[in-house]
């Protein structure tokens, strides 16, 4: 930019200034500040590295067929380009076959249109390589500015970007036209996850410190399973991201700095993700509405008619696309496609949880078709939900084995099983044990009073508690489940728990006083440990299932140690040495998450070629 601006006239200067001003305004709205923008670039760059182009779970075939249909301008499916028409989740109304997750499909549509447009000028594999290199360039500039060595960063970033792009051009291979919708769908969830990373940063830093916010955001994308599901285009990345957006807007609405119309704007805005989530997957939209609605109404400064009308209006508007889709499919605006009769096809009968499809691991028609269907014919029928919730409560009370296997220690389905419980896939959450003790130490009553005096916190906390409880009740009757890898149905719980982790006194002291130890442990284990681990499982010829078991046992051990340390710390063992121990444990726990993301992308699940052509296949 500087070459041009130096040489040309003031008019161009003015245009440049205007563009800069627009850019800064956009950056503020979308990312909050420079740090948020940097986190967006960084998480996008990381996620693209782990992205394989392909279909991981065959439910995705249905979404892809739906995307192809919508691109051609209709909601019904004509032919099955991916899998069969009888892939899980197709439905039939008046002899026409319909797909699923229309909200997700419409979100991916612009990506597909853009990809087709770009492909007439640049071949898509080159475009992906170029995009990634430009991303690195922008990231290096942002980091350079942030840490005060812009020149070095600019020079080295430019060099690395050109080199990686060169490597991309030399190694790229053609992309078949039937992969275009796959790429578009995956790109949409990858971008959504990167954006959610920024929302985590903004929400966590608004609730605690900016440093804790950055830590939470980085963890969201490189430590937690949310990174794993980013390029696997199921609904989970989207609904989790939308939940976070809603929570963040709720927080903003309650901040004292914003009063009157500003506050109302944020408050109503918090309901926009409800409509979008419902469009993607109706039951989760209902959960979000209940959680945000209850928290909002209970903690609002005013529930004056004017405010409620605005909120209801925005909620209704956000639901319009959903109503329209339903109306066009079922003739009834409140009957989502999932609640119409399943397509039984010529071959498969979906009476029980069996899947067609050859690639990827199996999936779960049982939840898709069966029990959720029993929720009733409409999202607006609360009886179905109550029934389902009471069933969930029954499981929680009567089947402790299932609860343990879902949350703590996965028993596995068969010998080559690659599923993990929540704690196994995110050992950092072990730090939560100390939080409970922390509350006891301050005193329960005092905690409550403190909560009540801090409205943004109360509102978000209430929404989090309601959402987490309801989603556990909704899904526990179907858990544990084969083909869930990291309990994907409960994916939103990871960032919600993360928000709690970064608030614990233990974590905040580590971030304040033992950052170095934490970072060195993390970096050492990720760089050296992941390679040792891979070498070990390859040399010892361990099956993928076996390797996942080893990894999850290690994770569980680390989580237990971390829990013990946070417990000790909150009980008063807070010497320097204790803090360093905690930093090492936290580094290990975070690294365990990252190693899982890297090894699973590279080794466990080779379902397609990497989007970056120069990443070697094992």
């Amino acid at each position: 930019m500087s070459v041009t601006t130096r040489a040309v006239r003031p008019a161009v200067h003015a245009v440049g200034r205007k563009l800069t001003a627009h850019w800064v305004r956009f950056r503020t709205v979308a990312f909050g500040d420079r740090v948020g923008y940097t986190l967006f670039l960084g998480s996008l760059a990381f996620l693209v590295c782990t992205w394989r182009i392909g279909v991981f779970i065959n439910d995705t075939n249905t979404v892809l067929n739906t995307l192809v249909a919508v691109e051609r301008g209709h909601l019904y499916l004509e032919t099955a380009h991916y899998g069969g028409l009888d892939a899980p989740g197709t439905h039939v109304v008046d002899g026409m076959v319909y797909g699923r997750n229309y909200g997700q499909v419409f979100l991916a549509l612009p990506f597909l249109v853009a990809l087709r447009a770009i492909s007439s000028i640049v071949y898509p594999p080159i475009a992906i390589a170029a995009g990634w290199s430009l991303l690195l360039l922008a990231l290096s500039r942002a980091l350079g500015t942030r840490f005060g060595y812009p020149r070095t960063a600019a020079a080295s970033g430019s060099l690395v970007a050109v080199l990686t792009f060169g490597a991309g051009v030399l190694t790229a291979s053609p992309l078949a036209t039937d992969r275009f919708p796959v790429v578009a769908l995956q790109a949409s969830t990858v971008v959504m996850t990167a954006f959610a990373t920024v929302v985590v940063y903004r929400l966590a830093s608004a609730r605690t410190t900016r440093r804790a916010g950055v830590a939470a955001a980085v963890a969201y994308v490189v430590v937690l399973p949310t990174g794993f599901w980013a390029s696997i285009p199921k609904r989970h990345a989207l609904t989790t991201g939308l939940l976070l957006v809603s929570l963040y807007l709720l927080h903003r609405a309650r901040e004292t700095a914003h009063t009157g119309n500003d506050s109302l704007r944020y408050r109503a805005g918090a309901y926009v993700p409800v409509g979008m989530t419902t469009w993607v997957h109706a039951p989760e939209g209902f959960l979000l509405l209940t959680a945000v609605g209850a928290a909002d109404l209970l903690t609002a400064r005013s529930n004056a008619p004017r405010e409620l009308v605005a909120v209801a209006g925005v909620l209704f508007l956000s639901l319009v696309p959903f109503f329209l889709t339903n109306y066009f499919i079922a003739g009834n605006p409140i009957q989502p496609p999932r609640f119409t009769p399943p397509f039984e096809g010529a071959v498969t009968n979906a009476t029980a949880g069996a899947d067609g499809g050859g690639d990827g691991s199996g999936s779960t028609a049982s939840l898709a078709g069966g029990s959720i269907l029993a929720l009733g014919t409409s999202v607006l029928e609360p009886v179905g939900f109550l029934d389902r919730f009471s069933k969930g409560l029954c499981v929680l009370l009567k089947s402790p084995d299932r609860v343990v296997d879902t949350f703590l220690l996965s028993d596995g389905f068969g010998s080559d099983d690659r599923n993990m419980a929540i704690l196994e896939s995110a050992p950092v959450l072990g730090a939560l044990v100390g939080a409970g003790v922390g509350i006891r130490r301050i005193g329960f009553r005092q905690t409550l009073t403190r909560l009540w005096s801090d409205r943004p916190r109360t509102a978000v906390d209430a929404a989090v508690v309601v959402y987490a409880s309801l989603s556990i009740l909704l899904y526990i009757p179907s858990l544990p489940l084969h083909a869930q890898i990291t309990v994907r149905y409960l994916l939103p719980l990871y960032p919600l728990a993360l928000l709690a982790v970064v608030e614990t006194a233990a974590l905040r002291s580590v971030l304040a006083d033992a950052r170095r130890t934490l970072l060195w442990t993390y970096a050492g284990v990720v760089l050296v440990g992941s390679q040792l681990f891979l070498a070990g499982i390859v040399l010892l010829n361990v099956t993928h299932g076996g390797a996942v078991r080893i990894e999850s046992h290690l994770a569980l051990g680390i989580a237990a140690l971390l829990a013990a340390w946070t417990l000790g710390y909150s009980l008063g063992a807070d010497s320097d040495r204790s803090l360093r121990t905690g930093a090492v444990l936290l580094g290990l726990a975070a690294a365990a998450g990252t190693v899982f993301l890297l090894v699973s992308a590279w080794w466990y699940f080779p379902y397609g070629p990497f989007a970056l052509p120069f990443v070697p296949q094992p």
Binding site: V347, T348, S361, D405
Partner: protein, 162 residues
């Protein structure tokens, strides 16, 4: 000095220009999209059934009320004269409990010769199965151009593990 400052713009320019030059308009490299594989189900093949299992197992998943894991050994088929992307379906039906499981295998590409057909990840969502064994109907189907051919239909015994 200023060269260093303008390096990023230069790098971005190089990347964009090379991208366009290598693209379909100028064609410095040829990366034109390959044709998609034939749509699943379009194509033909001669498929002969070599062997089918005569029994399988239903084992509790180990969780209270969380169903049974169905394990059925693979069937073997011999594929020849393959063109396009026909499908072979391996399917099991247990009428007494109203259960059907099937896995579709795509033959596109290099799947000539002896092929194993597996039944993947089948879970029977019943809280309990009162009998010791169930009779299942096993089917191997070929599906080409929306047309189905039954290659094998037979009975299998499914033993329920305690």
């Amino acid at each position: 000095m200023d060269v260093q400052r303008s390096l990023p713009a230069l790098a971005a320019g190089v990347i964009l220009v090379v991208s366009v030059l290598s693209g379909p308009l100028f064609g410095a490299v040829d990366l034109s999209p390959t044709e998609s594989r034939a749509a699943p189900g379009d194509g033909s093949a001669t498929v002969g059934v070599v062997s089918v299992p005569d029994g399988g197992r239903l084992a509790p998943t180990g969780y209270t009320d969380a169903g049974y894991l169905l394990s059925l050994p693979a069937a073997t088929v011999r594929v020849s004269n393959l063109s396009g992307n026909p499908m072979v379906v391996y399917k099991l039906r247990i009428r007494e409990v109203g259960y059907v499981a099937s896995t579709t295998h795509f033959l596109g590409g290099e799947h000539e010769g002896q092929q194993a057909l597996t039944l993947e990840g089948a879970v029977l969502n019943r809280t309990s199965l009162p009998r010791e064994s169930y009779r299942g109907e096993l089917l191997v189907l070929k599906r080409t151009h929306e047309h189905e051919t039954v290659l094998h239909r037979g009975n299998v015994t499914l033993r329920v593990d305690p």
